[in-house]
Symmetry: D2
Subunit: 302 residues, 4 copies
C-alpha cells in the first residue's frame, strides 16, 4: 500500500465493460417458469447472462431466489427503460427485486475504535481495487486511525462516545451518514453499542465483525471466554446488525486452530487474522450484491 | 456398516420424487439467449427447474456450460418425448448435451489392490445411501477385499496382474465390464498401470485417486518423495484417467498439515484419510452429473 | 477392512521395540530444575528420551506439566524398580505422575446407538493397527451394530435403554465394564444420558463425541439448531464426560463449511464425517497418554 | 497501522522480562542422557526452562535436535559466563549449538518489487509488535513502496535491477547489507534472480516466498500454470533460498480452494492472501529461533 496514492484505476476498456454490467436480484414464490420469464425478459432487452445462481427454499411451495449478472451494450442509457418494462413481470409473479449497476458504486462508511486491523485490511483491499466501493468517511471514537485514513484522502471524523452521550453521538453520526450519502456502514471493531433507533435507520445495511464463532460466546469478552472454556478452535463471524445483540443474519465465519499454550493475548493475535479476512469477505459479497437476507439467515451466491 | 444388509432403501415417496428428477447438461458456443431457450423449453415441457449452475469460459466468444436439475411429473413416461423435441434446439444452437435421470442409477465397478481404505469408504457411503449408484462388481489383483465385498452381496473377482500378462488381464477385465454393463470404473488405489487401449475403452469414465497433491509428485512413491522434499502439507488428487500418467483432468484435491516428525509411515496414514474423502467426493459428483470435462480441466457444478 | 480377520499384528521386532517403550506424565508446581531432575532420573535408569513435551501454565508460580516417552532395554523387567525409585523424587517435588507402558494396552468399551459411523471409524482404525487398544466389548441399545462387531470377534451386548429403566441398565453396563476390565469408555454417538453415579464411576475415562462445535448448540438437536441459526460452518467436539452436560474438558474439535443450500439432512451427512475423525483423534491421543486434564481443560501433547 | 508512529513499545516490566530470556539450539548425535546434560547445565546456571522441544531423526544412531527457551535473572550479565562454561559440554557431546537472546533483536532487510502485499503484511505485524526484529532497510527495484516505508521511518533504497547489471546491483545491495548489519534478508516478492555468490554470502539467512505449493510449479508463472493445469487448490511456500531455484528448505506452506470460475487474475488475488500469511509465519519462526535447517529440510519447533 502506498500512501497519498489513488486507488488503482481500471483501464478505460475495463471501465467501459463494467458500465455495461448489471445485476438483478429476485425473490418470489417458487413456481415453474420463473427462470424462463426472467431469462427471456433479459434476452428481449439485449442482455447476455454472464452469471446466474438460484436457490429454492423448498421444491414445493417454497420461495425462489435468483441472482443474475448480465451484460448489455449501452446499459446506462437503457436501464431506465428496462426497469420500467420489468414492473409488470414483477407484479404478475409477486416478485421482490433489485436492479443494481456496477457503475453505481456503493458508498461505504467505516466505524472503528482503537483496534485498526480490520480497517487496515479493508483499506488494503480497496487500494488494490478489490473492494468495489467508495469509502467516503471513517468515524472513530479514538484518534488512532486518523493518520492512515487522512493520508489516503478519506475524511476522518473523531466522535468520542460513551453510553451517557449515546443519543447525541448517534445524531452526529447519522448527520454524517446523510451528508456523505452512505449506502453501507461497516463496523470494523467499533466497540460501542448502537441503539435500536440507529440500527433501524440502516436496516440490512450495517455489517459487523464479531470476534467469536457465533453463536458461541455472544457478547463481551469472547476470547477470554474461549480461553476459559478451553476450545481448540477460535473463530470470527461477520453478520448484519439487528437489534438482537450478535444475533443478526450471519454472512461469513471462519476459524483457526489453537491449543493449550495459547493464552488470551495469543488468542487475540490469532483472532485478528480471522477477523480481518472474514469481514473483508462479507463486505465484498455485499458490495457485489451477492447476499439476500431471508428471515434471520443469508443466502450468499458465490 | 452392518454386513449382509441391503443398502438403505428410500421410502416409496422419496423414490417417487426421485423418479421425476432429471438433469440436463449442455455445452455450446456462448451467445445471448441460451438460458432463455433452455428454461423456456423445460417450462413448456412441464418441468420446474430445481437447481441450475452455469459457466462461461469467456464473456466474449466463449463456450457456455450449464447444468439444470428439474422436476417433472411422469418424467419416465415423458422423457423420450422431451429428448426428441430437444433435438432441433440442440442443432440450432450447436449444443453438445446429455439428459440423465435420477431413476437410472449408474453402474459402478471398483478396482482395488491390497490397500482397502478407499474401497471401504465408498462401500460405507454407499450403504448410507449417499452414493447414488449400483456397485455391480469389485475386481482386485489381491484377495484381501473379498470377505467384506462378498458379505455385502457384491460379486468379487480376483484377477492376478503384473506387467507380463497385462494384455490378457485387461481382456478379462473388459469382459467383466461388459458383462456387468459398467458405466463408471473407480480405481480405489489399484496399483497396476492400464494400457492406452483400456483407457480409450472407458474414456472420461475412469476415476483414479492419486496419493499426492498433483502436479507435485507425479508417478510412483509420492509419500516417499514428499518426505524427501520436506513439504509441510501432503495431499491427494482424484482425476479422470487419460493416457498421460497422473495428468488427466483433476476433479478434487485436498491436503493435510504434516511436520518434520512425520516419517513416511505417518505420511501414509495421514494420506489415507485424505485419499478416502477426496475419492468419495469425486465419485459422488460424477454420479450426480455435476462434472463436465473440458480439455484437460473439469467444470464441477457444486 | 476385511471381516473375520485379526487386527494387523506387528512384526516380532516391532513388538520387541514397543515393549521397551514407556511414558511418564508429571504434573507439579513449576520451579527451576524439574526437567533436570526428571531427565537425570531417566538417564540413571538406562532410559533414552525419545519424545518430550512440556507446558507451564505460568512462568511464575505456575503448574508444570510434562510428558516424556522413553526407551529402555528390558523395561518390562525393570519398570517396578524404576517406579519404586521414583517415589522419593515425586514426594520431594510434590508431583502427581503416571507411568504407562506401550505393552500394557488399554482395554476399551464402545457404546453406540443406531448411528454406527463413529463406531465404524474406530473399528477401521483399530484394524489398521492405528488404535493402540483392545476393544473388549461393544454395548448398544439397538441391534444394528451386532453383525459387524461380532464378525470382528468382539463381544456385542444389546441392552435396551430408556429413561424409566436407567438405573437397572446402568447396573448391567457397569457389571460388563467390570467383567471386561474396561479402562476407557467411548461414547460413539450413544444417545442415552448417563447418571451422575455412572459418570463418577469412570471419571476422566469416558470420551464422548458431541455433534456441534461446543459451546455452541449444547444439548439436543444441534444440527437442527445450526440450520435455524444459519451458521456457515458446522462442527463436532470430542470431550471427557462430566456431570455438566456437554461441558466436560474439550479434547478436539473440527469444522466443515456449509451454505444456505444445506438442509438438516445434509448438515447431518457432513457432520458425520467431522464426528468420525474428531472422535478417532481424541481416542488415539487418550490411548497414547497424550492428554492431561487440568480443571475443565485439556493439555494435549501432540 | 498508523503512519509516523513508533512500533508498539513494550512496558518496562515486559522489557525486563524479555532481557532475561534466552534460547539454546543444539544439534548432536543422539544418545541417552543429552536432555539430562543440557537441563542440568541450565539449572546449575540458575536458569528455568520455559519451553522445550526436541526431535530425533531416528531412535537409533540418529541426530538429536533440541530448542530450549529459558529464563535467568541477570542473563545479560551472566550470558558470557554461561557460553564459556558450555564449550566443554558441547565438545564432549559433539554438539553444534547456538545461544541467542531475546534482547538481541535480529536486524532484517526486506527486498520487494512492484507488488507490496507481503511487505505490507510484514510492516503491519511489526507495528503490532508481533515481529521481534528491527527492520533496518527496504530495498526495491521499483519506487512503489517508498512512501509507506519512509513514513514509518525506515530507510528505503531504490536500486533498479535487470539481468544485465546484476553484478553491480548485487554489489550495491551487499554494501547496504553490510552497512545496515543485516542478519536476515526477506524476499517479499522480489522478482529478480540472485546470483550464487550473493546467496552464498547470506546462506540460511534469506527467506523467500514462492507463489505456488512447491514442488508444483517451480519457476516463473506459477498461477498461470496452475490455471492451465486446472488444480482445485492453490498455494504458497516460504523457504530458505539456496542456489537451486525454488528448491531450498521449505519452512511453511498453505493453500486455498479455487474452482473452474477462477481465472488467472482471481488466482493471483487469492494467492496474495496466502503469500502474505505464509511469509509472515516463516519470518516470525526464524526470528524466534524456532527453525533448524537439516540437509534440505527444516525442523520447525512450534
Amino acid at each position: 500500500m502506498s500512501i497519498n496514492t489513488q486507488v488503482k484505476v481500471n483501464s478505460k476498456q475495463q471501465q467501459k465493460q463494467l458500465e455495461n454490467r448489471g445485476c438483478l436480484l429476485v425473490k418470489c414464490p417458487d413456481k415453474p417458469g420463473i427462470v424462463s420469464v426472467l431469462s427471456t425478459f433479459l434476452h428481449n432487452h439485449g442482455s447476455n447472462i454472464i452469471e446466474s445462481s438460484q436457490y429454492s427454499s423448498d421444491p414445493e411451495n417454497g420461495i425462489f431466489f435468483i441472482r443474475i449478472e448480465y451484460h448489455r451494450e449501452n446499459l446506462l442509457i437503457e436501464k431506465e427503460n428496462m426497469e420500467n418494462d420489468f414492473r409488470d413481470i414483477a407484479a404478475a409473479h409477486d416478485m421482490e427485486y433489485d436492479f443494481s449497476y456496477r457503475n453505481d458504486r456503493k458508498r461505504s462508511a467505516i466505524f472503528v475504535s482503537k483496534e485498526t486491523h480490520c480497517l487496515m485490511e479493508l483499506l488494503w483491499e480497496w487500494q488494490n481495487g478489490d473492494l468495489d466501493t467508495d469509502i467516503v468517511v471513517v468515524i472513530s471514537n479514538h484518534e488512532d486511525a486518523r493518520p492512515i485514513v487522512e493520508s489516503l484522502g478519506i475524511p476522518f471524523h473523531y466522535i468520542p462516545a460513551n453510553k451517557d452521550i449515546r443519543k447525541q453521538v448517534e445524531e452526529e453520526q447519522i448527520g454524517l451518514m446523510d451528508k456523505y450519502e452512505v449506502d453501507l456502514l461497516i463496523l470494523a471493531r467499533y466497540m460501542q453499542i448502537l441503539t435500536p433507533d440507529f440500527v433501524r435507520h440502516f436496516e440490512s445495511r450495517i455489517i459487523n465483525i464479531h470476534h467469536s464463532f457465533l453463536p458461541a460466546f455472544i457478547g463481551a469478552g469472547p476470547y477470554e471466554r474461549a480461553y476459559e472454556r478451553g476450545v481448540k478452535l477460535i473463530g470470527a463471524t461477520s453478520h448484519y446488525v439487528t437489534n438482537n445483540l450478535d444475533e443478526g443474519p450471519i454472512i461469513e465465519q471462519d476459524v483457526e486452530r489453537v491449543d493449550h499454550r495459547d493464552d488470551v493475548i495469543n488468542l487475540k493475535k490469532i483472532g485478528r487474522q480471522i477477523e480481518r479476512r472474514v469481514l473483508a469477505k462479507a463486505v465484498k459479497w455485499h458490495l457485489e450484491n451477492r447476499i439476500i437476507v431471508e428471515g434471520n439467515k443469508t443466502i450468499v451466491f458465490h
